[in-house]
């Protein structure tokens, strides 16, 4: 990588504050507040339609907020001088003229970035598209378009990167490559925001997570805090469904599925396997299975974005 522009680190902070956007009657983004820090990869997560892309487009000055602010280093995008020197953004893998070659696509923007044309070839090599420089983009696969979009963001060697679903269309080898690449960029002190609708896709890449659903903030914290929230479950199976139900009710355990009816198998939360085993032994209940299961982050993530709840940890948003 070329040297990073020596911006003070607070100039690389992305700040979204009470940001809202309505498209007619649809509230796409609703009073959203979070910050994204430099030197880290931040996962911007939520199901499709959660408002991720709209939020990114407001950060980039493409969509005008209904209310609230979205700033980069304290300034709205349109106030940045030579914005491509500060922010590299890839919003979709389709913003190319199909008749233009990859190299021409990059050279088109080079004057506005303020870099010599040779930089276009450099970034193509950087993303592994050096061999396709003179091919028309119309014939590119989705994975190649993703790489070209990434190359475009790197033209100005910007300290801030915003990437919307960059792993879409990449093969497993490409995803692994992207992971290393993003980690390297963050290690150089850059602010890297990566959106995705699948947590597991970015789980091994991100340091922080910002999770939104229905346009609202659901959770923002370091990934480690989210991992702690992913509670293990105890799986219990017994031939005596009625006895099992009685035991669960008497001990006051909570079933993961929230149900209360008798069943031969249940998953319990907030209790460990030893406690369940001891209680079953004391009650004389025959058990066929007793094991700890980790539903993983993905399960927690799906729970978070599925149920309309208040933010779990709004205080860590900053």
């Amino acid at each position: 990588m070329a040297t990073t522009t020596p911006l003070p680190s607070h100039d690389r902070v992305l700040a979204v504050s009470h940001l809202s956007k309505s498209f007619g009657p649809v509230r796409a983004v609703d009073d959203l507040t979070f910050e994204v820090q430099p030197g880290r990869v931040t996962g911007f997560l939520g199901p499709n339609g959660a408002g991720k892309t709209t939020t990114l487009r407001m950060l980039l000055g493409l969509v005008r907020p209904t209310s609230g602010t979205a700033t980069i280093g304290g300034r709205p995008y349109h106030r940045l001088t030579r914005p491509l020197r500060t922010v590299g953004a890839a919003l979709e893998a389709s913003s190319f003229h199909p008749g233009r070659t990859a190299l021409d696509h990059l050279r088109t923007y080079a004057p506005q970035v303020g870099v010599p044309d040779a930089r276009a070839g450099e970034v193509l090599e950087l993303v592994g598209l050096g061999g396709a420089a003179d091919r028309r983009v119309g014939g590119f696969s989705l994975g190649m378009r993703q790489r070209l979009a990434l190359a475009t963001t790197l033209l100005g060697d910007p300290p801030v990167l915003l990437l919307d679903e960059p792993a879409n269309g990449l093969d497993p080898e490409g995803i692994r490559w992207l992971r290393v690449f993003l980690r390297t960029l963050a290690a150089e002190g850059r602010t890297v925001l990566v959106s995705s609708h699948v947590l597991s896709e970015v789980e091994q890449t991100v340091d922080d997570v910002v999770i939104i659903a229905r346009g609202r903030l659901v959770h923002a914290s370091p990934l480690a805090d989210l991992v702690r929230l992913a509670r293990p479950q105890v799986h219990v199976a017994s031939p005596d469904a009625a006895g099992l139900a009685t035991l669960v009710a008497r001990a006051g355990w909570v079933r993961a599925d929230g149900g209360g009816s008798a069943a031969h198998e249940v998953d319990l939360v907030d209790v460990d396997a030893a406690a369940v085993g001891a209680a079953a032994f004391a009650a004389g209940l025959e058990l066929h299975e007793l094991s700890t299961r980790n539903p993983g982050l993905e399960g927690l993530f799906l729970d978070m974005v599925a149920t309309p709840t208040a933010p779990t940890h709004p205080e860590v948003a900053a």
Partner: protein, 270 residues
Amino acid sequence: MGAALRTEYRKLVTTRLWWILLLAMVGYMAFLSAIMAWGVTSGGGMAGAGEGSDDLALPPDAVVRAVYTIAVTFGYVFPLVVGALSVASEFRHQTITPTLLAEPRRSVVVGAKVLSGGALGLVFGVVGTAAAAGAGALVLLALGKPTFLDHGSTWQTLALSAAALALWAVAGVGFGAVLPNQVAVVVVVLAFTQFVEPVLRFVLAFTSWGEDVAKLLPGAAGEAMSGGSFYSESGLVELLEPWQGAVVLAAYGLGLAVIGRFTTFRRDIT
């Protein structure tokens, strides 16, 4: 603005559209003006067939003006389409997103498109006019008619024809900014210039007030700018003064571009 202009220039020349249309224009203009040169001098139907064998319906200088301005009379649709597509294709291929990321000041983007469109339009103007005048002059020469290429006024006509075609490209940018749907803008531009305006000019010529309105239509303004056209030299229509034509045609382009700036270019880019 300098960087934005260089970017717009590169956008225009890195796709195949511009030279395909330019080649089409050259072929079409050369063909039309050759036919016209033969037609208006050799009594091929247009010189009042039946009256006399080799009668000139038009005086010689009017003949060359009619022939040499073929590009501005019939060929303006090429720079017009190139200009319109320079905006519409950005929306068609969603390259408007990286365009506005590179230059968030949208007035600068529109301004750069107007200027670069005008510059490419001038290329179309010079090449298209040269094709028309070249083919026309060759035919006139072959027929033993005066070419008037040694007259200063002829060259002035040619220069103004090229300039008018540049303004047509600006008008195209304006149309594209107001109507950024690629298919819609091409259909509207073709329908208006090839059908609506000719019909309007024909119909308006029948009314006392209509002629003044007809002069202000963009096609008529373009013809006026070059100092005459096949239509006016045939006495079919009256035209404005050249400078008035330039002002009217420029007003169409810039006016539409300003409207586009505050409609298309004010919207959210989603």
